[in-house]
Amino acid sequence: MEIVISSYCRIKNNALIVNGKSIQLAKQDSAAFFLAETYKILGLNYPKFHKMDGLCKLGLLATEAALQNSGFLERHTLDKIGILMANKASSLETDRVHQQSISDKEKYLPSPSVFVYTLPNIVIGEIAIKHKITGENAFFVEPSFNTNLMLQQNNLMLKQSEVSAVISGWVDFDNGHMDALIYLTEIADDSIKKLNFKPLNEELLKQLYQ
């Protein structure tokens, strides 16, 4: 089975890189500012975005950037698209906010709109909801970006489940620091082979994550 990457988006050091084209924001800008600017640059109009925590905003924006003009959603039925993600900090960025809200008996104020984001796979849910994607899901937590695991799990999902394509990637948000690589992978059947996408392999993933 041949698997190809049809599009990707890399976010690091306040830069947005989409299929090799880069948009750099000022390095000193906050993560919140970067996310708000990126939302505008991508021309999104999605009110739910503003309710999300940082991890979900980061994952959603990187996915939107990779999807735009990719033809990916048109090539696959929505129940045959899986979403596979991993990171290092799980949902700790929002966990700390929730913990803060309950640490003091006098100012005890846990909020359901914060608590719901204290699970890392919510970012998968947000992406699924935006596009009505209903295939397989998996969220892994790793010591660092691990090309070997990402490839292995991507292959397993495509080979051993019903999906024909996977939105895959790394989405980490920790202490205000963002790090994301989202890439779209597809089984290269005859019609997709004609599109001349690059084959998915370890070298390519390492290169994209650099």
Binding site: D95, L119, G125, L149, N155
Partner: protein, 379 residues
């Protein structure tokens, strides 16, 4: 592809420190859930927590030195039991540990002076400590996918073994009752102040529980236990509907079930162990999905009335109990159920009874719209 099996297992919960103790407690209608105060507030909660003295007693007996968190100690005890039973070691290159959890050591965030480094709130730091205890050769894998984590870990372990990546995978699921989760679910108004009542007309929310459960997944026929089953298939699917509410029509769970049966269309399972959290919407959704999947007459239970909702441990713990019950051809009463209270036509098990069980369907659903299903067949 090679066949993949479930094998030796363990449960540590308020109902005991072995699968055997847990299983007999269920047959004696014991529940681990108690009414108690918890955390900073004076409110009473219905929670299933493991006695601290018991944990210490077992940890000392096992010679686990200090330097581990509560969840790490429980996980080590649970994994050790499975390694002892099976005789395998995590030192072996062909053996992997997969850990499923939602919150791991999140209780470390509470402390100003934590008992171990706060770094261990990072899930991979926690599993590294557990792996190092056993001298693990392979870096443990962590799956954190809300309340389907445990079942998803079993499904992914099955796929990894079928692919030839490992011969044995130890799947361990664990989560604690913490101020973090209790306050969060309370803010959602999701906690019942009574014993939870899955699928019942008067159900009004969940009880939180803590547990660690471990199961060996293997292709090695020399490592099978008397309750081993063949994992026929498993699948996950997303509702793509709402991050904290289940789909109204059960679409996501139905898709997970249909994909699980895609190559086993002739099988009607003999029993279903459902997720059954006892929230009004979840149980309603599950009943609709089961009816739409043509499972109306299949006896179904939820184990939440015995254990509460054990989050990342639930999928492992409940699979272990469901397979143990299958081994004994036993249907286990869905605790807390008396009056049918969901609109989908399903057959909730209202008393313990003996029957013939060959195949078991296990399902789970969770926040983020995720659903999972897996089908097991006795050997």
């Amino acid at each position: 592809m090679p066949e993949v099996f479930t094998s030796y297992n363990n449960i540590i919960s308020p109902l005991g420190f072995t699968t055997k103790d847990n299983y007999s407690a269920l047959l004696n209608n014991q529940s681990g859930i108690q009414n108690k105060s918890f955390g900073k507030l004076n409110d009473l909660f219905c929670l299933a927590t493991i006695q601290e003295e018991k944990i210490k007693e077992y940890a000392v007996k096992a010679g686990i030195e200090s330097g581990f968190t509560k969840l790490e100690s429980l996980s080590i005890l649970s994994i050790q039991d499975v390694l002892n039973q099976s005789g395998i070691s995590l030192k072996e290159k062909n053996t992997l540990l997969i850990y499923s959890t939602t919150k791991g050591n999140v209780d470390l965030l509470e402390y100003n002076k934590p008992p171990v480094s706060k770094e261990r709130a990072y899930l991979s730091k926690m599993t590294e400590a557990i792996g190092n205890y056993f001298g693990a050769t392979n870096i443990p894998l962590v799956i954190s996918n809300a309340c389907i984590s445990g079942l998803l870990a079993i499904i992914i372990a099955k796929r990894m073994i079928a692919e030839g990546l490992y011969e044995n995978i130890i799947v361990c699921g664990g989560d604690l009752v913490t101020e973090f989760t209790v306050s969060g679910f309370k803010s959602f108004n999701a906690l019942s102040t009574n014993l939870c009542k899955p699928f019942d007309a008067r159900r009004d929310g969940i009880n939180l529980g803590e547990a660690v459960s471990t199961i060996l997944i293997t292709k090695n026929k020399s490592l099978l236990s008397e309750s081993s089953t063949h994992i026929l298939n498993g699948a996950s699917a997303n509702d793509a509907n709402h991050i904290s509410g289940p789909s109204r029509n059960g679409d996501g769970l139905l898709q997970a079930i249909e994909n699980t049966f895609s190559k086993h269309k002739h099988i009607l399972p003999d029993t279903i162990n459902a997720h059954g959290t006892a929230t009004p919407y979840n149980d309603e959704m599950e009943s609709i999905a089961f009816e739409r999947a043509g499972l109306t007459r299949v006896p179904v239970n939820s184990l939440k009335g015995y254990y509460g909702h054990t989050l990342g441990a639930a999928g492992v713990l409940e699979t272990v109990i469901a397979l143990e019950a299958a081994h004994h051809n036993q249907l286990i009463k869905s605790a807390g159920f008396s009056e049918h209270g969901v609109s989908g036509k399903i057959s909730v098990i209202n008393e313990h009874k003996k029957t013939t069980i060959n195949t078991v369907l296990k399902t789970a659903s969770g926040f983020g719209g995720c659903n999972a299903a897996a089908l097991f067949a006795k050997l």
